[in-house]
C-alpha cells in the first residue's frame, strides 16, 4: 500500500509540473472540442497531433494524447444531450434519455450528471489502473514468445467479436492489417517485402499514414456525401445546471454501476469506451423498477452510460501499458506514439520508466478534474461551437491531416500513400467494413511475426510449442472457445441483439 502511495506521489510529481499540467489541459481541451463536434473522432485527432508531439518529452506527449481520448468522452455527451447527435460513438445511448431530458427543459441537470458521473468514474478507474497494472505486469514478465503470439491471437479475435457489424469482414480487416504490417524490410533478415521499388516504403508504411487515410480522408469524403443539405441544427437550451435532490438519489447507483461495468469492459480487447456505455444502459433499464421511463428522460439513462464510457476509456489503457497489447484502435495509436519516442510498450515500461507510467496515471485524475471545470461552467462556449457548419470544418480537418502526414518525415510520398488509404477506406465504408480492426492488425502484425519466429526457433521448429506451454495453451483454448461461441448461431443472435439496443 505504501508502495502504491509512493508511486502515486511520483506520478503526481510528474503530472503536476507546470509544463505537464499545460499539456494535460491542452489534451482535454482538444478532446472536449472534438468530442463536441460530430464527425471528428479521437482517432483522427490523435493521429493528426502525433507529429506535433515529436518534440515533446515522452511523458508530456502521452499525457496530452491520453487527455484527448478521455476528454472526447465528456464532449461527446454535450452534443448527444443538446442536439441529439452523438459526438462520439460512445455517446450514442446518451442521446436517448439525455435529449429527452433536454426537451423537457432539463438539459442542465443532464449535462451536470454526465460530467459529475464521468468524474467519479474517472477517479475510480484511475485508482483501478494504479492498483491493477503492477500485478498484471509482473505476470506478463513470465510470458515467452509463444505465449505472446497466442495472446495476440486471442486479443485480435476478441477485438473482432466485440466490434460492430459483420464478423467475417472484421476478421478479414484484421488479416489485411497484418498483411499491410509486413510491408517494408523484414526485421530479422532485412529483406524488402512488398516495397514495389518505392524507396519510401523501405521502412514500412507509417501508421500515421494508415490512420489518416482510413479515419481522416475517408471519413471526410463520406461525411460530405451524407451531409449535403443538412444545415442548421436545433440546439436545446441548457437552463439551470444543478440537479435536484431526487436526481442525485436516482443517479448515484447508476453512476457506480456504470463505472463498474465500463471499467470491466474497458479491460477487454475491443472494449474501450463504446461497449461499456451500451452495456451499462441496458443493465440500468433491466434493474429499474419503471423501465418505461427510459427513453423519456430517465436520469439513470444518462448517468450510467456516461460513467461507463469514461471508466472504460481509462481502463483500456491497462492491457496496453502492461502487456503492450492494444485493446482498440486508439490504443494502437498510443503504442505507435510510444514507439516513436523509443519506448517499447510492455511490462518493462513500469519498471524502466516509472515516471512515465505513474505520471500518465496521475495525469488522468488531474485531467478529469479539468474536464469537470471545462464542461460545466464553460458549457456555453461549447454550445456555440456546435453551430459551426461542417462545410467550414472539413477544410480544416483535411488541412491538419495533410500537414500531420507530411510532417512525419517531410515526405510528400506519405501524403500520396495516405490518399491511397483514403480511397481504400472510402471503399470500405461503402461495403460496411469497420476500419478499426485493420489498424489493430497493422500494429500487431510485425510483433506477431517476431514472436512466432522466436517461438519456433526456441522449439526447434516444432509448432506444438503453442499447445505444450501452459500459458499459451490456455490462451489458445480461450481463443477456440470464443471462436465456437461466435460460430454457434444462437450466440450470434445475442451479439446482434446487444448491438441493436
Amino acid at each position: 500500500m505504501t508502495e502504491l502511495l509512493d508511486q502515486l506521489a511520483l506520478g503526481f510529481g510528474v503530472a503536476l509540473s507546470l509544463k505537464n499540467l499545460a499539456y494535460c489541459f491542452t489534451g482535454v481541451l482538444l478532446g472536449t472540442l472534438i468530442g463536441v463536434l460530430p464527425g471528428l473522432g479521437p482517432l483522427a485527432t490523435i493521429a493528426m497531433l502525433l507529429p506535433v508531439t515529436y518534440a515533446l518529452p515522452p511523458e508530456s506527449a502521452l499525457i496530452m494524447l491520453a487527455g484527448i481520448y478521455y476528454g472526447a468522452q465528456y464532449g461527446g455527451s454535450t452534443t448527444a444531450i443538446l442536439v441529439n447527435l452523438p459526438g462520439e460513438a460512445s455517446s450514442v445511448v446518451t442521446c436517448l434519455d439525455g435529449h429527452a431530458m433536454a426537451r423537457q427543459g432539463r438539459a442542465g441537470p443532464a449535462l451536470a450528471i454526465a460530467a459529475i458521473g464521468s468524474f467519479i468514474a474517472g477517479s475510480i478507474a484511475t485508482l483501478m489502473l494504479a492498483s491493477l497494472a503492477p500485478p498484471l505486469a509482473s505476470i506478463a514478465f513470465s510470458f515467452g514468445p509463444a505465449d505472446y503470439f497466442s495472446l495476440m491471437t486471442l486479443g485480435l479475435l476478441a477485438a473482432v467479436v466485440l466490434a460492430r457489424g459483420s464478423l467475417l469482414k472484421a476478421v478479414a480487416m484484421v488479416v489485411l492489417g497484418l498483411l499491410l504490417g509486413m510491408v517494408g524490410s523484414d526485421v530479422s533478415t532485412g529483406f524488402f517485402r512488398f516495397t514495389l521499388s518505392i524507396p519510401a516504403l523501405g521502412d514500412g508504411i507509417d501508421f500515421v499514414v494508415v490512420a489518416m487515410g482510413l479515419f481522416g480522408f475517408a471519413e471526410v469524403i463520406a461525411n460530405l456525401e451524407r451531409r449535403q443539405g443538412i444545415t442548421a441544427m436545433t440546439i436545446a437550451a441548457v437552463g439551470r445546471l444543478l440537479p435536484t435532490a431526487a436526481d442525485w438519489r436516482a443517479a448515484a447507483g447508476a453512476v457506480l454501476r456504470g463505472t463498474g461495468i465500463g471499467a470491466l469492459l474497458g479491460l477487454l480487447p475491443g472494449g474501450g469506451a463504446t461497449l461499456g456505455s451500451f452495456a451499462a444502459y441496458s443493465v440500468e433499464k433491466k434493474l429499474s423498477r419503471e423501465p418505461s421511463r427510459f427513453g423519456h428522460g430517465a436520469i439513470e439513462g444518462v448517468a450510467a452510460p456516461e460513467s461507463a464510457n469514461n471508466a472504460g476509456s481509462q481502463t483500456s489503457f491497462i492491457p496496453m501499458l502492461t502487456l503492450g497489447l492494444p485493446s482498440n484502435a486508439v490504443m494502437a495509436l498510443m503504442i505507435g506514439a510510444m514507439t516513436i519516442h523509443g519506448i517499447t510498450p510492455g511490462p518493462q515500461v513500469m519498471t524502466e520508466r516509472p515516471e512515465l507510467f505513474w505520471g500518465m496515471v496521475a495525469s488522468m485524475w488531474v485531467g478529469n478534474l479539468f474536464l469537470v471545470v471545462l464542461n460545466l461552467p464553460l458549457i456555453g462556449i461549447w454550445v456555440r461551437l456546435l453551430s459551426v457548419p461542417y462545410r467550414f470544418l472539413y477544410p480544416a480537418i483535411l488541412l491538419f491531416c495533410c500537414i500531420g502526414v507530411y510532417s512525419v518525415e517531410n515526405s510528400s510520398v506519405d501524403v500520396l500513400l495516405a490518399l491511397g488509404f483514403g480511397v481504400l477506406g472510402y471503399l470500405f465504408i461503402k461495403c460496411d467494413c469497420e476500419p478499426a480492426p485493420l489498424l489493430l492488425g497493422f500494429v500487431l502484425g510485425p510483433m506477431m511475426e517476431e514472436n512466432l519466429r522466436r517461438a519456433l526457433v526456441l522449439s526447434k521448429g516444432d509448432p506444438a510449442v503453442f499447445v505444450n506451454q501452459p500459458i499459451s495453451a490456455t490462451l489458445l483454448a480461450m481463443t477456440v472457445v470464443l471462436l465456437l461461441i461466435v460460430v454457434f448461431p444462437s450466440m450470434r443472435k445475442v451479439r446482434e441483439q446487444a448491438f441493436r439496443e
Partner: protein, 147 residues
C-alpha cells in the same frame, strides 16, 4: 447470376484482390522453414488466409441478400482527392503557402453550399493559422515559399 448482397460481394473482391496481389508479389520471397522462417513465410500464410476470407465473403454476397451500395457522389470524392494530391505534389518545391492554398480552395469546392467569399475567407484564416502555429510556433521544417 444475380448479385444479392453487393456490399459483401464488393468487400470480398477487394480482400481477395489484395490477397492475390500480395501472393503474386511475394511469389519469389524466400520461404525458409518453420525453424528458420524466411521473409516469405508469414506473408504467405497471411495472404492465403486473406484470399480464403475474401472468397468466402464474396460468395456470401452472391448468395445472401443484403442492402445495396449507396450511390457514389462524384463531386466530393473527386475534389477531395484532387485537393490532397495537389498538396502532395506542390509542397516539396513550391512550399506550404501555395500547397495549403491549393488544398483549401479545391477541397472547398467539394461542398456545393460554399460561396466564393466564404471559401476565400476560410482559406485565408486557415493559412494564417498554419503559418502561425506550425511554421513559426512549432517550427516544423517546412518550405514556406517556392524555391
Amino acid at each position: 447470376m444475380k448479385l444479392r448482397g453487393p456490399r459483401d460481394f464488393l468487400a470480398g473482391v477487394v480482400f481477395a484482390g489484395i490477397a492475390a496481389l500480395s501472393l503474386y508479389l511475394g511469389r519469389d520471397y524466400p520461404m525458409g522453414n518453420a525453424l528458420r522462417m524466411g521473409p516469405g513465410y508469414f506473408p504467405y500464410l497471411i495472404g492465403l488466409l486473406l484470399l480464403g476470407l475474401g472468397i468466402l465473403i464474396g460468395a456470401r454476397g452472391l448468395a445472401r441478400p443484403g442492402p445495396g451500395i449507396e450511390q457514389v457522389r462524384v463531386r466530393p470524392l473527386v475534389l477531395v482527392l484532387i485537393a490532397i494530391a495537389l498538396f502532395a505534389v506542390t509542397i516539396d518545391r513550391l512550399g506550404i503557402v501555395i500547397a495549403v492554398s491549393a488544398l483549401l480552395l479545391v477541397c472547398g469546392l467539394a461542398s456545393a453550399e460554399n460561396r466564393p467569399r466564404q471559401l476565400f475567407a476560410v482559406t485565408g484564416l486557415l493559412l494564417a493559422f498554419t503559418l502561425a502555429v506550425f511554421v513559426y510556433g512549432l517550427k516544423l521544417p517546412f518550405r514556406v515559399w517556392p524555391l
